[in-house]
Point group: C2
Chain length 180, copies 2
Amino acid sequence: MYLYPMPVVIIGANLGGKANFMPIAWVQIIEHHPPMIQISASQSHYTNKGIKENGTFSVNLPSEEMVEITDFCGLNSGVDIDKSELFELFYGDLKTAPMIMEAPVNLECKLIKTVDLGFGHEIFMGEIIGAYAEEKNLTNGIPDVKKFKPIIFTMNDNNYWKIGDHIGRAWSIGKKFKKK
Amino acid sequence: MYLYPMPVVIIGANLGGKANFMPIAWVQIIEHHPPMIQISASQSHYTNKGIKENGTFSVNLPSEEMVEITDFCGLNSGVDIDKSELFELFYGDLKTAPMIMEAPVNLECKLIKTVDLGFGHEIFMGEIIGAYAEEKNLTNGIPDVKKFKPIIFTMNDNNYWKIGDHIGRAWSIGKKFKKK
C-alpha cells in the first residue's frame, strides 16, 4: 500500500445522538459536480455504525497543533471512551454530522453510496453539502495550506509531516517542459 | 472539494499496446488485505479507455524533479500527443500496466471493480499486485519520503508542494495527549 503521502482527516458521526470521531488517511475526492468525497474504513470502527445510523458524516481537517489529539482519537475507540467532549462541536444543515470547531476546515457530508468489497473495509461515498473554514485561513476565498497547516501522513513507516515549500503551479509549470 | 493536501500520481495504461499516462490527485488506498487502491478520473480521459481495455493500470509516484513532465502529462491529452516515449518504461507480471522507470515508486494494479455514479467520473478499484522502488529510496525496506521526495497537490488554488518537516509518530504521539 505504497501511496505517498496521504492527508489526515478526522471523521465525525453521531451514534445515538452522541458524537464520535476517528482519524483516517484513506480519503479522496471522487466527483466535481456535485462535489463528492469518499473514505474507506475498517468495519471494526465504531464511527462506521454512526455513518450508517444517520446517513451523514463530517470530514474535519486538523492543523499541526492538533496532532496529539488527532492521534489520541485513533489510539482509542469510541467503544471504550466518550469522544463527544474532546472538541467544541457544531452542526450544519444535515443536523447529525458533528463538526470540530478547532479544525480549520470542515466538510459536511451526506452518505450517497456504500461499497463493501468483502475484505473488511467499508467504502462510504458522500456528497459534500457544506464546507466551513475560518476567514483567517483563506487566501482569495480558498483555504491556504500555509495558513491552516494540515497534517500529512505516511503509511508503512507511520509518520506525521508538515507541508513543505512551494514547487510551482499546476496546469502551468508543465508548459516549460521540453523532451530531451 | 476542500480536501488538503493530496498526493500526485501518474496513472499509466496501454491503449492498443501503446502506453499513455495522466497525472491525478484523486487517489486513495481502500483495502489492506489484499492491498487495493482506487482512482477517480473523468470519463473524458483517454487513459480510462486503456484501463478498461486491459483491466490493468499503474500508479507511479513522481519525485519533485519530475514536476514539469508530470504537469506536462496533465496539460496534454493522449488523443493529441503520443506519451509512450516520454518516459523509460517497464512492465511487471500483468504485462499490460506500463510503469515509469524514472518514478521512484510504482504500483502495478489489476482492475477489480468500476463504479460509475453517473456524474462524469469513473471510479476504478484495483488490487496492487506488485510494488517497485529503488533500494536507494528505502529506509528499513520502506519508501522514505525524505529520500524520494513526492509531489503534493492542493486543489482549488492549484499548487504543487514539497513534503515538509517531521511532526511525530502515528499511533504514538497521541499517548501524550491529556484533555484540559
